[in-house]
């Protein structure tokens, strides 16, 4: 279970990513954040962003009509 859940369902790129970044900035290192997104592009792009900036991708899971992307703030 993530420490924080962001429900970005219904928003399009780059909405889910921007909400994730804001949450990462406002929470301490070690926090896990789950982003819920109906935007297919974000399901691919968010993990790429996480890898590039050096956070930890805990998992990406396709659920019923949306994606769950869990990220841990690593720095």
């Amino acid at each position: 279970m993530a420490d924080k859940v962001i429900d970005a369902r219904g928003s399009f790129c780059p909405g889910p990513l921007m909400e994730l970044i804001a949450a990462i900035k406002s929470n301490p290192v070690g926090t896990t954040i789950e982003v819920l997104s109906t935007d297919k592009g974000s399901a691919k792009d968010v993990p790429e962003w996480v890898k590039k900036v050096g956070h930890e991708l805990v998992g990406v899971e396709e659920k019923d009509g949306y994606w769950s992307i869990v990220v841990k703030r690593a720095k």
């Binding site: 399009f12 909405g15 962003w49 900036v53």
Partner: protein, 131 residues
């Protein structure tokens, strides 16, 4: 990390949207981003204006974005300014022609009104993207 300098000259919705998205993503991975807003693009940044009145649609995508929950370019840039290294400058020539001051532009977005000499100085080590 590299530096991107966007020269925004158009009021076309789709182009402004994509430029904002590109700048935003670049800034959130640690890059530096400048927006220099001139010509018709400055009209899209007028204060207290509805999105549909800010922009000119180029095609179908503008209509789609206006009807769906797509974050608009103004908010994307504003949000990115809080998260990364993004500076937004209004072109002094465009502002003079319109008789506008920085107060006439969308609040919390513009850092200054500058001329091309200053812009080129700031963008010396940047990749310039003309929109």
């Amino acid at each position: 990390m590299s530096k991107l300098a966007f020269v925004l000259s158009t009021q076309v919705h789709e182009k402004l949207q994509l430029a904002a998205m590109m700048g935003s993503i670049h800034a959130t991975v640690g890059g530096e981003v400048l927006f220099f807003v001139s010509m018709n693009a400055i009209l899209a940044f007028k204060k207290n204006t509805e999105l549909k009145d800010r922009v000119i649609p180029e095609g179908e995508f503008s209509k789609l974005m206006l009807t769906k929950n797509v974050p608009n370019f103004i908010n994307i840039i504003k949000q990115t300014k809080m998260l990364g290294d993004v500076k937004v400058y209004a072109c002094s020539m465009a502002m003079d022609v319109l008789g506008w001051h920085i107060e006439d532009l969308e609040e919390g977005l513009f850092d200054d009104v500058i001329g091309l000499t200053s812009f080129f100085d700031m963008a010396e080590d940047a990749k310039i993207i003309f929109v």
